[in-house]
Amino acid sequence: MLEGFELQLLAPHHQRAQFQSQADSLNDFLRKYAKNQHKNSTTRVYVYAHREGEIAGFFTLSAHLLELSGLPDSILKGRPRLPIPTTLLGRFAIDQRYEGKGLGRTLLSYALREAHKAAQIVASAFVVVDVSEDASEHAAEFYRKCGFVALPSNPQRMLLSLNDVGRSL
């Protein structure tokens, strides 16, 4: 936790242009696209920001679907053949000036709490993340330690049950 900083939904006073993480694509997202996507409710943008507007980190949550295939009736057990609603933790970044202070864990903790809270209103079974190839094994290990598991055929795609989150609160 940083003195004077708190989790907030993205708002006009937040200093998006000054945000500088190691990933240019995430900096660009925050500067160019986050405001409209948040405003249009296609993505919810959360910032960990000072009350005066400085952003130390941010993450996004949005609706997502897992479409299953090839399952026999014996496994489906009467469940409808519909995609499974999930919550995508789509973007996640820390400003370089605040790296090494444990903010990554703090933001992930907030993200899981927010995802769980939302799932009590609109159902969602998992939080899913797609760990980029650039982020490497270090990022995957970070999520694994927090309970995420990787899909067998694609270790970059990881998920965590929101029921498990609920039991751990």
């Binding site: 936790m1 907030q8 897992l66 090839g70 995609p83 709490r113 927090c146 694609n154 049950s161």
Partner: protein, 63 residues
């Protein structure tokens, strides 16, 4: 609201759902996800992580 309007709204909802990003899983991954749906896991690391933002000591988001 007429039945026609309701049906039209539902049709629109289908379009909205179709536009949401989705992962189409292979059979192997689908079985894995179905198992996860019914599992109850105790994850010490997750408990520790969530304790970092216990609402008793942390703020809640504001617009």
């Amino acid at each position: 609201m007429s039945d026609f309007i309701i049906a039209a709204v539902l049709e629109k909802a289908d379009e909205t759902i179709a536009s949401i990003e989705r992962w189409e899983l292979r059979e192997e991954d689908s079985r894995f996800v179905m198992d996860l749906l019914t599992q109850r896991r105790d994850i010490p690391g997750l408990r520790e992580l969530l304790a970092l933002t216990d609402p008793e000591s942390a703020g809640t988001p504001t617009a």
